[in-house]
Structures are given as C-alpha cells and as structure tokens.
Symmetry: C2
Subunit: 137 residues, 2 copies
C-alpha cells in the first residue's frame, strides 16, 4: 500500500465515522470527529452557514437528539488529497433508499487524526437510480 | 496587514474572479481559475458529482454558453485557511435578488496563485431576507 493509499484509507475511515455517529445519534463521537484547533463550518441542506465549533456542534446536538433512527450511509466516496487537507465527495442515502443528497466533507490532519472541518450536504434533483444504501463502498 | 489578512484578501480576490467569470460567461477566465495540477471536482445544485478537470470544465463550457446574462454575486464571504488550502463560504445571489444558494469554494495555492479545486452550491430553503445582490462584501 502506498503512502497515498494509506492516507486515503484513513480519510475514508474518518468519513465513515461521521455517518456512523449520525446514524447512532452519538454526540460524543460527533464531537470527537470535528477538529479541535482548526476552524470549522457546516452547511446543512437548505440552511444558512454555521461558522465555528460552538455553532456547528450546537446544531449537531439538536439534530442528533431528534434523529429518528435514520441509518445514513455514504455512497461512492471519492477522496482528493491536498497535503494535510483532504476532501471526500459522496452521496448520502437514508435507510434502504437511493441516495438523495450529495456531500462535500473536508478533513484536516490534527496530530495523527483526520478531523472534520466542514460538511456541506445538498439535495440531488434526482435520487441516484439503481443504487441503494446497502451498496456501500 | 498581517500575513493571514493578506492571504485572506488574495483568496477573496480569487473567489470574486470566479463570480466575475460566471457573470461574464468568460470561459477562458473560468479555465484559468481552476487548478492546473491539483485534482478538482464540482457539485452544481442538484447535480451529480463532476470529478476531474475535463468533466468540470466541460460542464462550465455548457453552462457559460447558455448563461442568460445573470449577474451572480458572492455575499457575506467567510474565509478559513488550512495552510496552502483555503475555503470560502458564501451565499450566491442572481441579479438584484436576495441570495438563493449557499456555496463552498475550495482553493489551493499553485505557485503564487490561488486556484479553485472545488465548487459546491446548493439551494437555500429561504432566500437571505433583507439582503440584495448589491450588498457586496
């Protein structure tokens, strides 16, 4: 495995932890996933910008407290690396449905950990036909 | 002006050139704005992911050829810096309308130039009330 492949695999693991934390309604994991030192921001579908750790994590607390048992999965993830910054592009699918959102997830290396600095999700005009939440890759 | 302020100002200038190129239907400027070496991607509102320079620029050619004279402006831009990578968050407004889209624009430093590696725009559930395209900042 090359260094780039290893890095890509670590970034994809961090991306998977994000969807796991959402699906489990797990605020401590979500909190641990977001950068501690680097600046953070979040754009939830249709919503105005959340800037800074307090605003971003407060919104996640509200979302996860009311998470109605949706299993949200990442589909067709692609990673692009820019030194100690990485972007994952993926589609998001809720429990057994075709993906209905496209997402940009940005991570930075803090110490030995890839931590999230930005999540932006928005609706697809048409769900990803023929793909289902269990087509994980 | 500190080094960070100077960098932020350069990134904002690159972000402004992106909206200028769109509004002018200027494909050569759009082409020059996107990274030459770093990997690129684009998520237009509602659309599936475009990955790689050929796909991204082909889509821009189609969009700019049919651009019906919309003046698209960036509103309330915020910059976050991660070394040689920068993210601009902003709202997008078309000619004299309140902003109707939120955007994530990612730039990397190539030589002395900040060049775009990712653009993701999605619809706002409600337009930014009370703000108009000429409230530039």
């Amino acid at each position: 495995m090359t260094h780039a492949e290893k890095t890509e695999s670590e970034v994809l693991a961090a991306n998977a932890r994000f969807y796991r934390a959402f699906s489990d309604g797990d605020l401590p994991s979500m909190n641990a996933l977001w950068a501690q030192h680097a600046p953070v921001a979040c754009l939830h579908p249709g919503q105005p910008l959340l800037l800074g750790r307090d605003a971003v994590l407060r919104a996640w607390r509200d979302i996860l407290e009311h998470q109605p048992g949706i299993e949200l999965t990442s589909q067709e993830p692609s990673v692009q690396l820019f030194g100690d910054t990485a972007i994952v592009y993926c589609y998001e699918a809720a429990t057994d449905q075709p993906a209905h959102l496209a997402a940009t997830n940005v991570f930075v290396l803090e110490g030995a950990e890839w931590r999230m600095v930005h999540h932006h999700a928005g609706p697809l005009a048409e769900p990803r036909a023929g793909r289902r939440a269990n087509d994980l890759n």
